[in-house]
Each structure stands twice: as C-alpha cells, then as structure tokens.
Symmetry: C2
Subunit: 278 residues, 2 copies
C-alpha cells in the first residue's frame, strides 16, 4: 500500500492555512525567510516550491538571494540579522550551501526559536532528549506520515540508512524517542542487507538512486524513501520493493510534500510563539 | 582479557597533572567546581572521589553543596554564577538531582565551554555532529578505553543497551562518528538478546545489576560494562560473560576510573582554552 504524502501534507497545510488566517485576524502575519546561496538549479526549484506553498497558505515569505562567492562570515551576518528581525518568524537556509562555506556555522546563526527547518544543534539535541524545540522538517514529516498510517513503532526495529545531521541522525533519534529499537547504517556498514532485512521500518536516507533493492527488504516492512535524487528517483528501487513492503512511500509524492508541510506548520507555530511573547 | 580502566585512567590523569603543573607555572590553576544537591550517600561519595582525584592532579576544586529542598531556579542561578566566574574552568553537577528539580534546565545553565562533564544539549549535538566541544565523561572514557586496546570500530556492529542523555545516547553517537554500525536497545526493545548476540561491541548502560547474561553475548565480542549499581555490581553478569568476550571491562576498575580521568582532562583543556582567550 502506498503512503500518500501528498494527501497527508494537504491536511497539515490546510490546518496551517486556517491557523494563519486566525493569526492575521489578530494582526500577525507568519513570515518565512528563505535564504539561497548561489543558483544551483535544484536548490532554486526547492526554494521556489517552498515559497509557493507558503503563499498558498497565506504565509508571508521573504527571500534572500546571495551570490555563490559569499563568505561564511557574510552569510552568518545575514542569518543573524534575520534571527533578530521581529517580522521574521521562521528561517530556512536552503542546503547544501557551496562547499567553501562552513554550513554548520551558518546553521548555528539561526535562532533556535526561528529554526523551523530544524537544522541547528539545539533542535537536534531537543529532538534527541524530548525537549521543546522544532524538529528537522524531513524527519518530522516522516514521523507524521508513519502516524498518519498508524504504524506502531514501539519495540519495532527501525533501520536508518544514512547519518546526515539533517536527515539520518535526527530521524533515528525521533524513532528512538518513540520507543523503536534503532539501527544506524551508513557507507562504512559491513553487509548492509543483513541489517535492512531485519527492519520492520526501513528509512532510506542516503541520496543514492535505487540503492536499496527489493531483496534487501523484509517482507511486510514499512519502507520510507527519503531519497531525492535527480530525475525524481528515490533511494529505494520501488519496482523491486513494492511487493515486499506492507507500506511504502512513492517518490515523488511521499516524504517530499511532508517536509514542506512540516516547515510551514512550524513557521506558523513560531509566529504563534512570537505573538505570545509580545 | 580484562580492559584495565585503572591503568589507562592513570596515564590520562598523569598527563593532566603534568599539563596542570605547566599551567600553574604560567599563573593559571585549573579549577573544577562540583555542585551537589542534597546528601544522597552515593552522590556524596562520587563527588568526594572527583575532588580527591582533582587534588591529586593539582587541579583546584570548589565545592558547592545545596540543600535537597532547593528550587530549580536557585540551582540554575548557582550554576549560572559559576558559568560566569572567570576562576572556574569546569563545572560538574552531580546527578541525579532530586526529582522535583528540572535536571535539564540545570544542565543547560552550564556554559558549554565549562561543560567538562559533557551534559549540555550543545555538547551532545557537538558529539553527534563532530563539532568542537566536550564529550560526556563516561562515553568519552569508553571510547578512550576502546582506543587503548586498539579495538577497530569502523564497520563493526556496536549495540548500546540504554538510551539516557548522558550515557546511552552520546556513546552511540560517538561510536557512529567512528564508523561503527550502531543499534540502540532499551527497555521497550523486543527480544533484546537477538540484538546483543549480534554485537561486535556491546555497551551495557542500563543500571540494572547483571542484566546482560553470558548467553546474550556473541563469542569474541568486546563487552563494555558502564553499569554502576549498588555494591559495585555491573550491568553485565561478569562470571557468565568473561569466557565469551574477547575483551571485557571489570566493575569496578573498568569504565569508572576512565570517567573521572576524562573529567579531569577536560577541566585542564577548559583551563587552557580560557588562558588562550585572555
């Protein structure tokens, strides 16, 4: 059975739009600032998509475009300014940034209370420790989708393939917080399939097209494909996996829309919190 | 073969003592502030042990004792003051604190640059992301002991039993950073032995005496017992495990001394950094 991320995301975005309307009636317009460095075509597309969805939900968006050659220092200064600007409620730095930039330093310039994409060290630790904070958007979207399909996580074996700071690591911590037994696999894992074949819940987050093949999947597993490779190809070989999995996310239309939905939902939540602080 | 934490710790503490002597010659005395809330006998013993070891290494120690009935707010204020005091280089809040206190709020009042016990959210995320920062003392001690015995971690399956914020979670993140494939098990894990029997490296961090029995251990595994239960009893049934493991930590004399050694080493490192900032 397919896990319909588009439909689940619509419900979240509809709620965000309703909440936005209520906030506007109170004189507050939720505002998401998107920051794009350089002009990588995929990044341009993602940012535009996020702005369009924001606009549809009534969320204001600011867009900051910075040249490819910018220094870490200038990027940090721009993000610090947005962090201090009372009109901005959420900040999204589109990643990856160009390799000469210290991405971590840039992320850390985002104030935790505006980190609606959940990329800061504070947000990560908050996810891991069950403290208040924003979740990483994609991991948060994955958990929402699992909940939408009433997947029981407690005591189940969740295998996460990938250990990036914005995807693999936080999704594992969120699954652990929900009482799954969690295994982190990665490029140095010996005999990867011996782990993935144990997975009741398999999260593919490696960024390699069709990396997880059908024979590496346990019959009846729930398969979450968080890959977004060129040409809309996931990390899972869908044709090989679809008959093994009990539930599986399509690419596109699975995790992707959920990511944006959580981003918008958290922007609205940030605006509500800012309003409460006034 | 036994992993001799006492001997490995002595080498670390001897180096810390030499570094302390050099710092003192430069006019800086490394200083560790220990904070104890209430008078739990085990906690009193632990704090005293840390003070004694500090004194032996020439590290200055301040001791703050606060009554059991203290509020979170007062404890946070005391820790904030120590965080701001230029004469204090490292801060240790002995845990657990009494249940009416918000332990996380207390930990977060420790400045990251003085968090020599590695308990803050910042230190945790830094460990997970490979960023500069102090490590949790016990996990840091475990990794040092594994290195001391030249245990190869890359591609190996490390199973961590326990998921506490100061032990299980950070040790898993540190093992992952060293390219182990890492599985987190816990109280809700179904069929725990089916995981522990796969472990090339098994870390027991649950706080239940003799919880891991010999039949749950893979022949040839490296077994790290981070348990510290009343009566010096570990989380591993040593008698049952010793013939299965290739390397195993005794209790006492395994992980315990390493924890204190890393605490002192990090206090000296904090003093060096403070000196550099002058």
């Amino acid at each position: 059975m397919l896990m319909d991320g588009t439909a689940a995301a619509k419900r979240i975005v509809d709620q965000a739009a309703a909440d936005t309307a209520a906030l506007k009636a109170d004189g507050v317009t939720p505002c998401l600032a998107t920051v794009l460095v350089g002009s990588d075509p995929a990044s341009v597309t993602y940012v535009r998509m996020k702005q369009n969805r924001s606009a549809k939900a009534g969320i204001g968006s600011w867009h900051v475009e910075l040249p490819e050659a910018i220094t870490t220092r200038t990027l940090v200064a721009a993000l610090t300014e947005l962090s201090q600007d009372p009109d901005v409620h959420g900040i999204l730095l589109q990643h990856p940034v160009p390799p000469h930039i210290d991405e971590r330093a840039a992320f850390e310039a985002i104030a935790p209370e505006k980190d609606v994409d959940g990329v800061t060290m504070h947000s990560f630790a908050a996810m891991a420790f069950g403290e208040p904070g924003f979740v990483s958007a994609t991991p948060g979207g994955i958990l929402r989708l699992l909940d939408e399909y009433e997947v029981d996580l407690a005591g189940k074996h969740a295998v996460v393939v990938g250990r990036s700071p914005i995807l693999g690591k936080p999704v594992g911590m969120m699954l652990l917080a929900r009482d799954a037994t969690v295994t982190y696999c990665h490029s140095r894992t010996a005999d990867l399939a011996s782990y993935t074949r144990q997975a009741d819940i398999l999260v593919a987050a490696v960024g390699k097209p069709k990396f997880i093949t059908g024979d590496a999947i346990k019959p009846g597993a729930v398969v979450i494909d968080a890959g977004y490779n060129p040409g809309n190809i996931g990390d899972v070989d869908f044709a090989g996996a679809v008959d093994k999995a009990s539930l599986i996310t399509p690419v596109p239309g699975g995790v992707g829309p959920m990511t944006i939905a959580v981003l918008l939902e958290q922007t609205v939540a940030a605006a509500k919190m800012a309003q409460r602080r006034l």
